[in-house]
């Protein structure tokens, strides 16, 4: 059974079996506007919470997406290389950005659930 968490940086994490699938929220994609490029991380890369994991580029600007927790990249969403607009059209589904193996599951306790995130964005 997967559990979904949210961060104040407008990311979502779907965690199942020690692996988190990470993406940006619908609110975030709306703020960024039409994406034209996603710079994906390499598999095996080790990230510490707060490191830049992915750079998403809209027509106008480049924005960093940070690792919400510590861990190691196990997969990047290669489909986004040819169709970055999936992040706009399906931010919480087919537009996921990367999967990571969690280094410390206790870090999840500091994240929000959906109700708290909804309250956060108002």
């Amino acid at each position: 059974m997967a559990t979904t968490y949210f961060t104040t940086d407008h990311e979502w994490l779907r965690v199942e079996g020690g692996i988190a699938t990470v993406g940006i929220t619908d609110y975030a994609q709306e703020q960024l506007g039409d994406l034209v490029f996603v710079e994906l991380p390499e598999t095996g890369k080790k990230l510490t919470k707060g490191d830049t994991a992915v750079v998403v580029e809209s027509v106008k600007a480049a924005s960093d997406v940070y690792a919400p927790v510590d861990g190691e990249i196990t997969e990047a969403n290669g489909t986004l290389s040819s169709d970055p607009s999936l992040v706009n059209s399906a931010a919480t589904g087919a537009g996921w950005l990367w999967k990571m193996k969690l280094a410390d599951e206790s870090q999840l306790a500091g994240l929000m659930d959906e109700a708290a995130y909804k309250a956060h964005i108002g």
């Binding site: 506007g33 034209v36 490029f37 710079e39 580029e57 027509v59 106008k60 480049a62 290389s81």
Partner: protein, 366 residues
Amino acid sequence: MTGDDTKHLPLEDIHMAAGARFGAFAGWSMPLTYPAGVMKEHLHTREQAGLFDISHMKLFEVSGPEAVALLNRACPLDAGALEISQSKLSFFLNEAGGILDDLIVTSLGDTRFMVVANAGNAVADEKHLRALAADFDAKVEPLDRVFLAIQGPEAWAALSRAGIETGSLLFMHGVEPRKNWFMSRSGYTGEDGFEIGLPEADARDLVAKLLGDERVLWIGLAARDSLRLEAGLCLHGQDITPETDPASAALMWAIPKEVRASGAFIGADALRAAVERGPAQKRVGLKPEGRQPVRAGAALFDADGNPAGHVTSGGFGPSAGHPVAMGYVATPLAKPGTRVFADVRGTKIPVDISSLPFTPHRYRKG
């Protein structure tokens, strides 16, 4: 966040009602995008008609017996050679030949001219022009107007339906069709289109009529930027600055031959010397390989890794279908097809020098 000094558009309520997302630009709170989004707004302008609120830009009327002499001193221009209703791109230069601002000057008569200046420089421009005017029998009057642009192949038809006939007006010409109106066939998208300065009440009426036409959509500053970049047009403060002169900016075409040779405009000596020397760097179009945009500020390197220049504007060109950029490179490299490399977050991205514009201009010239 907007501070107390942020200026607000007279039609801000209309933009809010249209669902605009606002951002700060040149001291103004400006609509960046509308619900359609930058991509659709950009493409819509090229396909039909886009409506832009550019009231952050400033209109000045320069008039008086010595208006021509004042403009010829302020700009590398022969204002007296302009036919009535003819517009010309020109500049305010500093003594070093650097570009203080780029402007459009339109002749409204032998002793009356309209000057359109950029938002970010409007206050400095007015001060500069007023200081110069002290030596001439001429008057500088900033006009209180809403300024709208309607751009795209259907712009003329949408205006016509709204009761504004543009008739035989050609690109880079401007007229006063009604009291306190100024309308020119010009713009900053590369498309056929018009810019109209008019009183607020008239503007509200015109906007309501134009938005009633399904061909017309509000377009924000984000798409205005991608449209002008694809069209190869400079943004002052980025692509041209007080540190760049018209020769390095590849804008000498805007300065008539006789003015180059013998004009007494501010910066004339420095500009002549710069032309004589030949610029060390030149403004060029840049086409990054692949899909990754190369943005303003990125450093450029030649094939051997030596510094070659820098990017001044960059993003994605929705009509071009690929990233587009502009920047300055060392003059020997400033030839279409030459490959340089942009440093983007530590990765070297191949970038080819490209001729401008990236999308063909579709001006109505005759």
